[in-house]
Amino acid sequence: MYSTQRSFKWTSALLAVSLALTLALAACGNNNNNGGGQAAAGDASPSAASPSASQADGSPSAAAQGGELTYALATSPDTLDPQRSGLAVAVRVIRTIYDNLVVKLPDNTIKPWLATEWTESEDGLSYTFKLRQDVKFQDGTPFNAEAVKYNYDRILDPNTKAANASALLKPYKSAEVIDEYTVKLNLETPSRAFLGNLSQALLGIVSPTAAKKYGDQFGKNPVGTGPFKFVKWEENAEITVERNPDYNWGPEIVDNKGAPYLDRLTFKIAPEEATRIGSVQSGQVLAAETVPPQNIVSLKSNPDFQVLQANTIGLPYTLFINQDRAPWGETKARQALQYGIDVGAIVKTLYLGTYDQAWSALSPGVLGYDASLENAIKPDIDKANALLDEIGWKKGADGIREKDGKKLTLRYVDGTPNREKRNDIAAIIQQQLKKIGIDTEVVITKDILTEVFTNANFDIYGNSQVNGDPNALSAFYHTAPKGVLGNIAHVSDPELDEWLEQGALEKDDAKRAELYKKVQQRIKDEAVIIPIYVFPYTVAASKSVQGLKFDLLGYPLFNDVSLAK
């Protein structure tokens, strides 16, 4: 008996010591990245920089040639067939392999890429593109009008299962090959968003030869005209692309129009945050995406690293209030939510100042974004309470409001997994709304399609969309968006409809911007939504990584990247 007791004490003592030791070791594992931590597994192999100043014309000053960039992704792409993909992570890889007809610059102007010039018909029902004549796909197939026609027809073909790409390509009807390097695209209806959408990665041009050859396995054997050529894809491990030496048709958004400086670019797939970011800190990879807020803060203060950030544009993460369910059809009820929810506090608490608060239905950077809405709403609990009192919802004994014997409840539906801490937003709002007497039920479900889009069994649901054109608002705020399920809030406002329809057709950008400003103001005045945050795409990288840029939508561009010695 005595001995067991003694050994028990021994056990707990030893256990405590060993636990403390491991924790201490782990805790001090943050700094001192140069000492001891050799670049394990030879990841950062400097692979003999090829100093041949071969295609030096046009390339700026002294970017170092050669080397391999290792870039850790947070999730695995589904396919590298741009026309079939639906995931942002896939687009990050797809951007390196494919080009588009046109490119959209940050100031929302549209410039040539694979097309050199274009004209729009008077009625807006067709575009005629002149194409570059010096472009070849990475498999040697010539790029020409026939290839463009094949691509867009492929997206329309239901067998391709190009659901996302075909939504972007709307209202494309058909293509006519005028001559080898001239193609005419016909539309069902005029569309202002069409030309800009042709710049999006999901409408990238694939090699017709390869697409026919591989059929539904093309996504594993991708061939485009882009700056990098596909080498291999080890599923759930890495995707490697290498420099396309023939590349000479870079778009205006990058400085280096020729072949990339990097020899190779390897995307490593590392879903676990600690692994991904730790690998950058220990030099096992040179860059990693999607940096958690707490790491952004600490990496920024370390001179060996840099954190690059690009806000994605389109619709920010927005809470839609379902107007079909009482009492949220009443403007005052929705305004009470607008004043009762302290969005600023939520964004600061959860993202530690690394995300920007959203103020409007559009995010900054989209044509027509209304900056005057910033700071236009200040959280005000008294005002929220007064608004609810006004429409007859009185606080009961338990602090929850009632009207005609009914409690004031709110069903807040959110999806799983907990992307960008959106579930946590729901939990905070639940607490905040308690203060104004609303009983919030948070429902986290995997089945958003049924719960939100089919049965509409919710009062609040949050969504976002990456999109380069303000016409994206039509899907979400038009009474009857053309055949899509987007109108989550079930908003129906004839004036909104009119502005959105005019915006879709207006040729003058300044007038177009005005129309969308009116739309955003109305959405705010009617408290249709609660905008929450603008999602920043973040990359943690070693200081040696230079020239990493982002396109209009926040996707990385590797054309200008070089590795400093």
């Binding site: 067991t4 050994s7 021994w10 056990t11 030893l14 256990l15 060993s18 491991t22 070791l25 782990a26 594992g29 001891g36 931590g37 050799q38 670049a39 394990a40 597994a41 695995s76 589904d78 396919t79 079939r84 639906g86 239901p158 299962k161 659901a163 996302n164 939504a167 539904d216 996504g219 594993k220 599923e235 759930n236 491990a237 490593k268 590392a270 879903p271 676990e272 600690a274 692994t275 730790g278 690998s279 220990s282 030099g283 096992q284 997994p417 479900t445 995997k446 958003i448 399609l449 049924t450 889009f453 969504n463 969309q465 899907a475 979400f476 055949g483 899509v484 399920l485 987007g486 989550i488």
Partner: protein, 308 residues
Amino acid sequence: MLKAVTGRILSSLLVIVGSSALVFVIMYLLPGDPVASMIDVSNASPETIANLRHQLGIDRPFLLQLADYFGKLLRGDFGQSVLNSEPVLPKIAKHFPATLALAAASAAVSVVVGVLLGVLSAIHRNKPIDLIARIVGLLGISMPAFWTGILLLLIFSIRLGWFPAMGSHGWRTLVLPALTLGLIGAGFIVRMVRNSMLEVIGDAFVVTLRAKGLSERAVMYRHALRNALIPAVTMIGVLAGEMLAGTVVIETVFSRQGIGRIIADAIMAKDLPVVQGVILFSSLVYVVVNLLVDLSYAVIDPRVRRSA
């Protein structure tokens, strides 16, 4: 003996068919729609969604889907991923070696550490070695794998740089994941071996052996250990399941390839054919390992050989 083996194989088949039918039902009942992970729903029309559902065959009645699934299975058709049309069987074949390597390395860690510490701690009861063994047992059983994994990763990869933090090629990528997963098994085996060793040491036959003048070494390692190993070997069969399940977490933490990663992703996306394929395959592996374990009794224990 032969009759017993055929009986075991037949009942194993039943287990495999039953488990894949069960998984089919569970996946059918789970909320969510694969269509939602394929497209941006807010930007799609109801017709697009209906068409996709039709193409995937998930708009048919449940029993029809189930019958279709087993029908195809009998013809050796595991189907293809709904996300990217990749055929399921080659996908599993491609990723299984990495999982097998991890499971085998982890099992080796479990058995070597577990049996060694278990025996030593029983022989040297209440000595320091016993204490260490019991700590290993406690930690192995109680620490969650994702926590141990991240801890080992922070120390030995990110801080010390001894082993790579990700990847699945070469033995160096295997060390930390195998330790993480192996420690769990070691925890169970240590306790099992220690207890059964202690029991056997107290048995009358050990006293007899000692009385016959056999060396303590011979008594312990030739006779006592052999008897004590039977429950431990049973444990290894159970552990095979633990190891397969553990790879789901470990492969994610260490960014390894393998069927654990595949099934985790497939469940999130409701990619039914892939989930089904991996489950079917895993249950096959589990059943085979346990069959081998049962057969190995005959090798270890002569009584089993004679009675069968």
